[in-house]
């Protein structure tokens, strides 16, 4: 329901808040709320109900004459790109796929970030006698771990890309923007914006804290025989923090990314002549 209210808000936000417009907004909102409640009662999923209500809404151009704002609207339909406009169904499918696959994608990137960790630590640990193996074996185990982690990450990305494959033209920007879809996507992004902002703040704090151990070990252990080992531990700690940061940020950024993608079609390529 919040998406619907946000959608109406953005529709009307471009116009002066006259009493007549306020009244129209309130009545249209009541109509949309009723429609939404009706669809939910029919057993539709929330996402589906929201999409249906927005699809059935129509556009303000039609209401403009009765509201006396006719001259203000109507400039939005001149976007004549060669690519067909993105439809709300496509956009919703794309957003759903992005939402479904967000954990897989972030897990894959976390694995990529962590994949060299063992390769970095083990040979140094072996050299300093902490583990009873030779450097060679340490390097070999490290390489194996890197390949396995990167391989699992690739498999996860592949699985995710299979789900977003039907929406390839959106991912590649081969569509022209559709004002209804853009507004819907902005409302969606707004709904998830608070979580994204918080994740972004956490990730920034982590990024600032990440190099501290490495710096501390380098500065305080300068005469110790363990300096190599601890420096390496510091590097691995940094990798882990990067991975955690990705794990926090990526799953919360999908709605924002979807809105960015849907708002920016590729006009340059769209104008190509046949």
């Amino acid at each position: 329901m919040n998406v619907i209210i946000a959608y109406l808000e953005t529709m009307f936000s471009a116009y002066p808040q006259t009493a007549r417009l306020q009244e129209a907004k309130a009545e249209l909102q009541a109509m949309m709320e009723d429609a939404y409640t009706g669809l939910i009662a029919e057993g539709r999923a929330e996402n589906e109900a929201v999409g249906q209500v927005i699809r059935d809404f129509g556009n303000l151009e039609e209401v403009a004459p009765v509201l006396g704002i006719a001259s203000d609207i109507s400039a939005t339909h001149t976007d004549a790109a060669a690519f067909p406009p993105v439809t709300l169904e496509e956009a919703q499918g794309y957003a759903n796929a992005k939402q479904r696959t967000r954990r897989r994608v972030s897990a894959a990137l976390m694995l990529f970030a962590l994949s060299p960790a063992i390769l970095i630590v083990l040979p140094v640990a072996a050299e300093s006698g902490l583990v009873p193996i030779t450097d060679g074996i340490g390097t070999f185990i490290g390489l194996m771990a890197l390949l396995v982690l990167a391989g699992v990450g690739l498999l996860l990305l592949l699985a995710a890309s299979r789900e977003t494959a039907p929406y390839k033209r959106i991912a590649e920007g081969r569509f022209s923007a559709n004002p209804t879809v853009t507004r819907w996507a902005e409302s969606l992004a707004e709904q998830y914006e608070r979580g994204r902002t918080r994740a972004l703040q956490t990730a920034i704090v982590l990024a600032v804290l990440a190099p501290i151990p490495t710096l501390a070990f380098a500065l305080f252990l300068d005469d110790s025989t363990w300096v190599d080992f601890w420096t390496v531990i510091g590097v691995v700690f940094m990798l882990a923090v990067v991975a955690i940061g990705l794990g926090i940020l990526l799953p919360r950024g999908w709605a924002h990314d979807v809105a960015e993608k849907l708002g920016h079609s590729a006009p340059g390529r769209g104008n190509r002549q046949r």
Binding site: A24, E27, M31, G58, L60, E62
Partner: protein
């Protein structure tokens, strides 16, 4: 066959007035009833219905009054005026002759 919004635009007023003859109603219910009666042939956009109702109101063909929904929400109700009823009869007559003229071309027969 789905009817285009352009084809039916001139007759949304007639539909609204027809529904309001049986008693006052509010915008969402009007849209629901139009969609239910039309089956899959025509789904009215909420903005189309809203502008039709407002146009009728400013023309004095329907009047509005504040009401409350069963769940307690404030809601604007509409009812036809006498002018609205007269306009309805006029629109019905107009539709009959429109239909008959168009039919003559479709049948391809001379009257």
């Amino acid at each position: 066959m789905v009817i285009s919004a352009d084809a039916i635009r001139g007759y949304v007023d007639l539909m609204v007035l027809s529904l309001l003859r049986s008693g006052p109603s509010y915008a969402y219910e009007l849209a629901q009833r139009i969609t239910a009666i039309s089956g899959d042939d025509y789904a009215i956009k909420q903005t189309t219905l809203y502008s039709a109702v407002k146009r009728l109101e400013s023309g004095g063909l329907v009047s509005s009054f504040p009401g409350v929904s069963p769940s307690g929400k404030p809601r604007t109700y509409y009812r036809t005026t006498d002018a609205g009823l007269a306009h309805f009869d006029l629109k019905v007559a107009e539709w009959r002759s429109t239909k008959s003229v168009v039919d003559r071309f479709i049948e391809g027969a001379t009257p």
